[in-house]
């Protein structure tokens, strides 16, 4: 009786999993089809004449004037630099807010940062564009990186962690003559490695996957990020060139998919720890 129930449950789970994975498998399959076959309206997962042409054209820059490797490089470097900045400045701020009781306006700043989590992106999007435009920074890496540094999510996540860190260890270090910077760098940061990794994965994926801001903040093909580039392709002359489009989306998806699968535990933790209690 119980075994039977489990069997049906697993069967249901498999069917649902197939539905969830089907679009991704179909993406991979279509990326190896030529234009004719990709538009034939068939349901064959194995291409009748498999071809790597879509990938080659994308990688050599034949599709969008720029090799797609450039877009990937843009996305990965913008994501890594942005993530680095966020991890550094958020951890410093969280340390001060959680541990340095003589910080002026500590409570006010903390409430201000937490309240900012409620601000919808639509409120800052246009003025941010106008700000970067006025500074002459549209279509630069600065425009692709800096806006992500203002988010308070990391400050909030790390604040919770640092606030629960045992006082005794910190006191002992101070007795030994350690200053604030040494306590931050040698005691608190090393203890926060796993939560920092969580923040890193979360931030990198957020920057890498954003496409609306980079779509408007860049104007030349070589400055596009991969996600903005794909949005341009899908809106422009490649709307129905599914083979080519899917080769590009497959390339775009690989880095985040790998990070996501290997960092999933961390990712889940960030979601469940950030306020749901």
């Amino acid at each position: 009786m119980r075994k039977m129930k489990t069997f049906w449950l697993v069967l249901l789970a498999v069917v649902v999993a197939a539905i969830f994975l089907l679009p991704l498998v179909w993406m991979l399959s279509t990326s190896f089809k030529n234009d004719f076959e990709a538009l034939a309206g068939q349901m064959n997962f194995i291409p009748s004449k498999p071809t790597a042409e879509n990938y080659i054209k994308g990688l050599t820059g034949e599709l969008m004037n720029v090799p797609i490797t450039r877009w990937i490089a843009n996305s990965v470097s913008v994501g890594m630099i942005g993530t680095g900045i966020v991890m550094l400045i958020d951890s410093m701020a969280a340390y001060a807010l959680a541990r340095l009781t003589d910080l002026p306006f500590r409570k006010t700043l903390l409430s201000l940062f937490i309240a900012s989590l409620m601000i919808p992106g639509v409120l800052t999007f246009l003025p941010m564009y106008m700000e970067f435009n006025a500074l002459g920074l549209i279509n630069t890496y600065a425009a692709l990186i800096l806006p992500y540094s203002a988010g308070a999510f990391g400050v909030f996540l790390l604040y919770q962690f640092f606030a629960s860190f045992p006082k005794e260890i910190e006191e002992a270090a101070r007795m030994d003559g350690a200053n604030k910077w040494q306590i931050y760098a040698r005691i608190l940061l090393p203890s926060a490695v796993s939560i920092m990794v969580t923040l890193g994965i979360f931030t990198f994926m957020g920057i890498y996957n954003d496409f609306v801001w980079p779509l408007y903040a860049t104007t030349s093909p070589e400055m596009r990020t991969i996600t903005a580039g794909i949005a341009m392709m899908a809106q422009g002359s490649y709307t129905q060139a599914y083979g080519k489009l899917m080769a590009m989306t497959t390339i775009a998806t690989l880095p985040v998919m790998l990070i996501f699968i290997f960092g999933q535990r961390s990712f889940v933790r960030a979601i469940t720890q950030s306020g749901v209690k």
Partner: protein, 297 residues
């Protein structure tokens, strides 16, 4: 106790300073600048600005003006999406969580990953995939339906199909997030409550209705709030999949705001629309938070 000399306060401040600068430059300043822009006739890529006070706001709320119809037609499309998507985002998320929760422990992680996987991909990649899946002539979905003798459903160019397509893609893409939170909540329902109910002879449905649901009610409300906010911010799916069509039926508010700014180049009135939209979102979330809080008391 820490001695609180001015040197110490200064060195403490230095730790917050880098983030505070970024926060001020890329969050606080844009908000204030946005309010300033919204009070002017402000053109994209032009230095001409003329103070107009609250004129843009007045127009948004004056029936018959262009801004009024732009704003409220967009808002209507957005609200439709919220109404269609939020109940499903809650129910399907909970259903998937229950499914994973009752699987044998060894394979829970695997299936959780399967259902959560689409969440990892970018909105633009996600829409490109579904552009292909929903293609009227060559798409996978219509090829599949052809086998059932259903032909040529205009998923992205006809109604009600376009709303259905937008909801399906949104579910596929984001439901993993809600599922994760529900799984977490289900794991925290005390096991002995179920055992006590079993002794009393309660069936699976009774246990779900009388133990599970009441225990996870705060989480359901939390999901309702976050899903409503997320659906209010809908942009990528109609922007890339239906392009606001058929007609203007799926042209959501955020699309109208960006069109006003980047196509008609009127950033002043676009900013006013953005601010009213942001206020609406914040009011809705505060009201929902209040409701959650009131029920907890």
């Amino acid at each position: 106790m820490l001695k609180s000399s001015w040197q110490s306060r200064l060195s403490s401040s230095l730790f917050v300073l880098p983030y505070l600068i970024c926060f001020s430059a890329f969050l606080l300043f844009p908000i204030l600048y946005g309010i300033y822009i919204s009070l002017h006739n402000f053109e994209l890529l032009s230095t001409d600005q003329q103070y107009v006070g609250f004129a843009h706001y007045v127009k948004i709320f004056t029936p018959g003006t262009y801004l009024n119809s732009l704003f409220f037609r967009g808002l209507w499309a957005t609200i439709q999406f919220v109404v269609y998507s939020v109940p499903l985002l809650i129910v399907v998320g909970l259903a998937l969580a229950l499914l994973v929760h009752y699987l044998p422990r060894k394979i829970q992680g695997l299936f959780r990953t399967f259902y959560f996987l689409p969440y990892a991909i970018s909105a633009s990649v996600m829409t490109a995939i579904w552009l292909m899946m929903f293609d009227t002539n060559a798409g996978f979905i219509n090829s599949l339906l052809m086998k059932l003798k259903i032909t040529g459903i205009p998923w992205l160019t006809g109604q009600p199909w376009s709303w259905i397509a937008l909801v399906i893609t949104t579910l596929w893409w984001t439901i993993g997030f809600n599922m994760i939170i529900f799984i977490n909540a289900l794991n925290e329902v005390p096991e002995d409550h179920y055992e006590a109910a079993s002794i009393d002879g309660a069936g699976a449905w009774k246990k779900f209705a009388h133990i599970t649901l009441p225990s996870i009610r705060p989480i359901i409300l939390f999901i309702m709030i976050t899903s409503t906010i997320a659906s209010f911010n809908i942009f990528a799916q109609p922007f890339l999949l239906t392009r606001g069509g058929p007609g203007d039926s799926t042209k959501v508010l955020l699309m109208n705001v960006l069109d006003q700014a980047f196509i008609r180049k009127e950033v002043g009135s676009a900013s006013a629309m953005a601010i009213v939209m942001a206020l609406l979102i914040m009011i809705v979330s505060v009201v929902q938070y209040r409701l959650t809080y009131a029920r907890k008391e």
